[in-house]
């Protein structure tokens, strides 16, 4: 089942393509950072709630449902193989042989893993459902010959501050042992954050060369056409007397190869057509100075979404910093030990 762009004008549709890409990246990072099943479940629920506002719930569910079994298997692995030395033992999965112990920690983390995977997958789905592929391709394409200094500085500043906070939340002890006095230590970390932020934004801002970006864009536009063509070709072959689904396996392979040739030719022809068409419309006029009609522009909501993501990231890192990253586990263990 292909995840195709669903036309619409809902909340997610109106967000900038870059925001949705970052939303996906952010959810992935959060899924790594957050280990608690209830927190992760809440994140998932929030994302799902936003999603159903923008995409048909049935469509979303039908696509997610298929994955439940797969992710449950992942969770099961987690439950089975995640056994600390001092974890709280519950029972053996295969009783009389005393094989495969199941622990409280294992169960809780298994549940968390289930939500972690689902959140990432849901973020991908929502991104693809609500963003025209063309715009996604555009986000990763280099669209200007040179970027403005002000936008580079702003990106470096914001990213640098985020990195600075993250460094303090995750690597507090390492920073403590640096052989400098306190203000210099902080300054040093700040400097390192800005240097890496500058590097990252430079690399991220570079993007694909416009030729490749355009190739990607045009490729997306061809997918629908090719699947239509495959259907036409299959029909044409049926009409020529091929049993398209013979019972004999060898015949079936022969039929398949017979289908491949016209599809191959059709694809080749299509690529020829495209090159002739785009050349005739000035594709190689001066590709670096090309205008892009579609304009990517952050609106208020984009900042809200991105800000929320950053806050969530800081929050969950702070919980981990305070050793409170697993509240559910701790509460249950406390209850059990009492």
């Amino acid at each position: 089942m292909a995840i195709e762009y669903q036309k619409g004008n809902a909340f997610l549709h109106r967000l900038d393509a870059r925001t949705k890409l970052l939303l996906f990246v952010g959810m992935t990072v959060l899924a790594i950072v957050v280990a608690d099943p209830i927190l992760m479940g809440l994140l998932f629920a929030a994302l799902y709630f936003i999603g159903t506002r923008s995409v048909d719930r049935k469509l979303l569910n039908s696509n997610l449902r298929i994955l439940i079994v797969i992710f449950l298997t992942f969770s099961l692995f987690q439950i089975i193989f995640f056994t600390f030395e001092d974890s709280y033992f519950l029972f053996y999965l295969i009783p009389f042989k005393n094989w495969i112990p199941v622990t409280v920690q294992g169960l809780i983390r298994g549940l968390a893993v289930f939500f972690r995977f689902f959140s990432v997958v849901l973020a991908v789905h929502l991104m693809l459902y609500t963003t025209p592929p063309v715009e996604l391709a555009l986000t990763i394409t280099k669209r200007e010959r040179s970027r403005r200094v002000s936008s580079e500085l702003a990106a470096t500043l914001i990213l640098g501050l985020i990195l600075f906070v993250v460094a303090h939340l995750t690597r507090a002890e390492e920073i403590q042992v640096l052989p400098f006095s306190h203000p210099i230590r902080t300054l040093l970390v700040l400097l390192a954050s800005f240097v890496s932020a500058y590097g990252i934004q430079k690399i991220a801002g570079h993007g694909l060369p416009p030729e490749m970006g355009m190739a990607l864009t045009l490729g997306f536009a061809t997918v629908g056409l090719l699947s239509k063509q495959t259907e036409i070709i299959t029909d044409a072959q049926k009409a020529r007397g091929y049993d398209v689904k013979p019972k004999n396996l060898i015949r079936r392979i022969q039929v398949l190869t017979a289908l491949l040739l016209p599809i191959f030719i059709a694809t080749l022809e299509r690529s020829q057509d495209i090159s002739v068409a785009i050349l005739s419309r000035g594709f190689d006029y001066n590709i670096d100075a090309r205008t892009y009609r579609r304009q990517l522009k952050f609106q208020a909501w984009d900042y809200v979404v991105l800000g929320t993501l950053v806050l969530l990231l800081f929050g969950s890192l702070y919980l981990n910093y305070l050793q409170l990253g697993n509240p559910t586990e701790q509460i249950i263990l406390n209850l059990l030990e009492r």
Binding site: V134, S280, R293
Partner: protein, 565 residues
């Protein structure tokens, strides 16, 4: 004198080809001129166009001699992209030149490439869409548009680049009558409004001649005629290469102005010269067919609906008898193809029954039905499965487990029928489009089908090839094959078929002899069927006793001679 386009002794040969496609072309086109380029398929018209926008020599590889100058640029030294800002090119196949996923992206694509500022792009897009009557189509997907809309979109995409020169390579060829009308209207607007140079390649002279200033006739890579419309028409026909429209030929014959392109003008002028008399004897219409024979295809109250769409067939009742040659006509989307697909079970009726050669298609697999039914699709590329002509021909035979001893005889017979025995050892990639179409037909004929179903056999073919294909179909019918052909060509249908079936919104709107159809202007108009010029004139002459179903040139000429006396 300044020229927009100048060819100086230009010859071109594609890499690996044995012959030059263009040979010693010398022409000059002035700014604002509208030039029609015509000639048989494979005569080098497309190559000529590709020279103007620099695809030759920069994209298509080969050997170019001589000089092509566009404005002040030598195409050999210019980039295609640079020339694209001067020369707007529109190709024959509308679908193949649309590359993006929405109409607005498509129209904006050219100006984007040229680096036009964003605000101006929007302005140009609106302007181009309104000129091509596509406003409101911005967010539609190009490949879901009708052929006419697609071609209009392709023209809009060129228009928005503001070229000085338009080159249109058979822009009407792949369209149905309604689409042709739409695109032709756009063409006229573009040509007249803008005072730009327009080079248009076309076969359908009737529609384009009234618009142009100058005509070039190309054959085998050479310009064999070049002059004003009047000069070229006065020089007469060239067999198999250049046939003037029927009305022009009649005008020539009866000494009227050569630029008589419409039946109205012909009649008024002829009558003004000397009032016409009455015809005392006219031929009877030819009978529909000797259809006393057995029914071979029966549609019994057939309904069909595509998923999530309006009903495509709504209670079709139709009986085709053995040995008939039936033309199926109607607008795009009227259900013609859906009807044909039921015959070999590619679709199965939701309600009702389809019986073909005594078998119910609902319970017979398609590959069994195809033993008796040959089915040809519109685009031959979709059914070709091999690299060599011979392999292609034997493929169906193998699929049906025919005795290999018979292969040679069957292949030879089928290729002979379509007059392609000489290419039996050729590679399919080397064949032209017309040849591929005939090959597709021949590969179906190897199985000696009792019934032949053909979907638009003449899309994009020149008049000579169209006639040849219809001749083959007629010949097969004479040999006893029942033929069902979907076509837009009313003139050919009328000249070849016995019976016409007109589909309208999933229902049979007309079923009867072809002569009855063409003498019924209401049904013709209601189904966007264009009357052949001869018949239009015959209708005008009806009050003088000329039967309105007259379709053959010779026949009308004969009547006219009597009337003029």
């Amino acid at each position: 004198m300044e020229y927009d386009i100048k060819f100086e002794d230009v010859s071109f040969r594609y890499t690996g080809a044995e012959k030059d496609v263009l040979r010693g072309i010398n022409i000059k086109v002035s700014p604002g001129e509208i030039v029609l380029v015509t000639g048989p398929a494979g005569s080098g018209k497309t190559t000529f166009c590709s020279c103007i926008n620099g695809l030759i020599p920069h994209y298509h590889e080969g050997e170019l001699t001589g000089q092509v100058i566009v404005r002040s640029y030598d195409t050999r030294r210019a980039r295609i992209g640079g020339l694209a800002s001067l020369v707007g090119m529109v190709f024959q196949d509308p679908e193949s030149q649309l590359v993006t996923s929405s109409v607005i992206d498509e129209v904006a694509f050219g100006p984007e490439n040229l680096g036009v500022p964003r605000a101006e792009i929007y302005q140009r897009v609106t302007e181009a869409l309104s000129a091509t009557r596509l406003l409101g189509y911005e967010d539609r997907e190009p490949h879901n548009l009708s052929g006419g809309e697609q071609q209009a979109c392709a023209i809009a995409a060129t228009y928005s680049m503001h070229p000085e020169i338009y080159v249109m390579d058979e822009p009407l060829a792949n369209l149905d009558p309604a689409g042709r009308l739409q695109v032709l209207q756009v063409l006229i607007d573009v040509a007249k409004q803008r005072q730009k140079t327009l080079i248009i390649v076309e076969h359908s002279l009737e529609e384009v001649l009234p618009l142009v200033d100058r005509v070039l006739v190309i054959n085998e890579g050479q310009i064999i005629r070049d002059g004003t419309v009047e000069e070229v028409l006065a020089a007469g026909d060239i067999p198999r290469i250049f046939t003037r429209p029927a009305i022009v030929r009649l005008a020539d014959k009866f000494g009227l102005d050569l630029k008589t392109f419409s039946a109205d003008k012909f009649y008024t002028d002829l009558n003004a010269r000397k009032p016409l008399g009455m015809l005392d004897h006219a031929d009877e219409p030819s009978p529909a067919s000797a259809n006393s024979s057995r029914p071979i295809i029966e549609f019994q109250n057939v309904h069909y609906t595509y998923k999530g769409q309006v009903a495509a067939l709504k209670g079709v009742n139709l009986t085709i008898h053995e040995g008939e040659l039936v033309a199926i006509l109607g607008r795009n989307g009227s259900g013609k193809t859906t009807l044909a697909r039921h015959i070999i079970g590619l679709l199965q009726p939701a309600l009702g029954r389809v019986i073909v050669a005594g078998r119910d298609v609902a319970v017979t697999p398609t590959h069994e039905l195809t033993q008796e039914i040959g089915f040809c699709f519109q685009n031959p590329n979709h059914q070709i499965v091999a690299f060599k002509v011979r392999d292609e021909m034997t493929f169906g035979l193998k699929a049906h487990n025919i005795d290999p001893a018979e292969f040679d005889q069957r292949v030879h017979r089928a290729l002979d029928l379509v007059d392609m025995l000489d290419v039996i050892d050729a590679e399919i990639f080397d064949l032209g489009k017309g040849q591929k179409q005939r090959l597709a037909l021949a590969s179906v004929l190897t199985l000696n089908p009792k019934i032949l179903v053909i979907d638009e056999p003449t899309t994009g073919q020149d008049p000579q090839m169209t006639k040849e294909i219809f001749d083959v179909i007629k010949h097969l019918n004479d040999l006893g094959t029942t033929v069902l052909m979907i076509t837009h060509r009313v003139d050919y249908a009328a000249a070849y078929a016995h019976r016409a079936v007109v589909m309208k919104r999933g229902e049979v709107a007309f079923d009867g002899p072809v002569w009855e159809l063409i003498s019924n202007p209401e049904i013709m108009r209601a189904n966007a069927l264009e009357l052949p010029d001869i018949t239009k004139l015959a209708l005008q002459l009806n009050k003088h006793g000329v039967p309105p179903w007259t379709i053959k040139y010779e026949q009308l000429e004969h009547y006219l001679q009597q009337l003029v006396g």
